[in-house]
Amino acid sequence: MFAPQLLGFVSPSINWWALLPQMILLGAALLILLLSSLAPRRSSTTFATVTTLSAAITAYFVSIGLWYDVEREGASSSIASAFGVDGFSIFFTMLILIALAITALLSHHYLDREGIDPPEFHALLLCSAAGAIVMAAANDLVVMFLGLEALSIAIYVMIAMHSRRSEARESAVKYFVLGAFSSAFLLYGIALTYGATGSTNLVHVREYLDAVVFRDQHMLMAAMGLLLVGLSFKVAAAPFHFWAPDVYQGAPSPVTGWMASIAKAAGFAALLRIFFAAFASHDSDWSPVVAVLAFVTLVVGAVMAILQTDVKRMLAFSSISHAGYVLVAVQSASNDGTAAALFYLFTYTLMVLGTFAVVGAMGSDDDHPLTRYAGLGRSKPLIALSLTALLLAQAGVPTTSGFIAKFQVISAAVSNQSYFLAGAAMVTAVIGAFMYLRIIMTMYVVDDDESGPSPVWHWTTSTVVLGTVIFTMVLGLVPQFLIEFAEQAVPILIRG
C-alpha cells in the first residue's frame, strides 16, 4: 500500500543537551541500585546521599548552561515538539534539583534513624525528580502523563517504605488508589483533547485552537474540565484535597516535604503549560473555573487549618491554602500572573522544605501533636527561631519572601480585575496566620511539663534549615533577582 521509503523510520532530532539533567538523575538512580546490589552487605547511607547530591549538583550546572543557551538562542523544543526547552522548563528543573538536594540531605539522617534501606529510597527519589522534570518540560500530554506517573509511583513507594508504621502504609494505599482514580480523569481529559483538536501535542493544540473557531465546543470543554480535575488532585486543590492531610500525616517527614513541594510544583507546571500556554485562546472559559477552585481552596485550607491539633495536618492544610494562592495567580491568565505563580512556587518550596526539616527532626512518632512543640523556645532557642521565621514566611509577614510572593499573587489578581478573589486571598491570609501563630505561641508561651522537647538533630538538617531560613529572609529584602528570573520563565510553546 505504501512505498517502502515512506515507511522508513526517521528518528526525530533530539537535543540531548536539554535532556541531560533528567538523564543524569536516572543514571544516578541506576548507579545506586547497581552498586548497592554489588555491595556484599547493607550499603551505607552516605554513599547514596552523596551520589544523589552530586547528581543534583551536576544537573544543576547543566541547567544553568541551558538557561544561558535559551537566553541566547531563544526557546525551542525537542523530540518532535514533545519536549520544551524554554525558561519555564529550566526554571522548574532548577527548582526541582534544589529540592532534590535538600530532600537528599534531610533523608540522610532520617533513613538511618528509621532503618529504611537508603539505596532504594534514593533511587526512587531520583526517579520521581526526573519524572517531575519531564512533567514540567513536556510539550505533549502523553509525555506529561509519563512524567506524572514516574513522579507519583515513586512517591507511593517512598511513602510505604516506612513499612513498620501502619500509618505510612495506610497513607501509601490512600494516595495510590486516589491517585490512580484521578489519573483516570487526566487520561480521559487527554483523550478528549485529542478528540477535540486532533493532537496531544500542546504546540499543535495551541496552533489548532488559534486557527479554528468551534461551532460546538462541548468536547473541548469536557477535556479542559477533566484535565483540571486530574491536575487539581496532584496540587491538592479543594475539593480534590481530601487525601492531603491523611497522607501528609502518615508519610515520613522528608517524603511529606518532597510531596508538598515538588509534587505540587510539578502539578502547577503542567497546569500552567496546558492551560496558560496551550489553551490560551480559551482563557475566558477556564479562568472562571480556576477562580472558583482557587476560592474554595483558599477557604478550605485556611479554615480547616485552624481546627487541627496535629502539626503535620496543620501544615497539610497550609499547603492546600498555598495551592489556593498559586491558583489565584494562575486564574489571572497573564504573564504577570504566571510569573507570580512561579515566584510563589519557588519561595514556597524552600519554605516548606525547611519547615518539614524541623518537623522531621522533632521526631517520627505516629502522631505529631502541637503540644510536642511546647517550650521549644526555651529548650532549643535557635531551632524555635528558625521555625518561627519559616512559619512567619508562610503566613506572609513582611520582610520574608512569603510576603513578596503573596503580594505578587494578589497584585496579579488585582490587575486582572479579580477583586473578589484578591480580597478573599487577603482575608484567608489573615485566617491562616492564626494557625502559624498558634504554633509559634506554643513554642514560646506554653509551658512544658518536663524538660522540654529534645529534637534529634543532625548537621545535615541544620544546614538545610539554616539555608532555607537565610534564603527566605534575604529574598524578603532583595526579591528582585528572583522576580526577574520568574518573569523570564513564562512558558513558551514552540514547534521544534
Partner: protein
Amino acid sequence: MSELLRSYLTVGIFGVAAIAMAGAMLTIARILRPQRPTRQKLIAYESGVDPVGGDWAQSQIRYYVFAVLFVLFDVEAVFIFPWATRLEVYGLFGLVEMAIFIFILVLGLFYAWRKGVLRWV
C-alpha cells in the same frame, strides 16, 4: 448528532445486542431445561475435583512476588515484539535504544536477584 457520537452509537447498539443475546440464551435454557437438583449437583464445579475448605483461602506471598516480577518482565515483550518486526527500519538507533531498555530491565532483575527475591525459601 456529530460523526463521532454516531460511531459511539454503533458501539452502544453492539453492547445492547450482546447483552440481549446472552440474556436470551440463559433465559431460554432456564425455561427449557429440566430442573431436578440434588446435593451433589449444587457443589461448585472445580474441574472434577471435590472442593476442600472454604472459598477464602490464603496463598503463599512468594507467588505474589513472582507474579509481580513476571508481569514486569512480561510487559517488556510488548515493546520488544513491535521493535523486532521493524528491526531493519529502526537500524542502529533502534538497536541502541533497545539495548538500553533491556539493560535497565536486566539491572532490575539483577537487583531483585541480589536482594534475594528470587530465592524460594
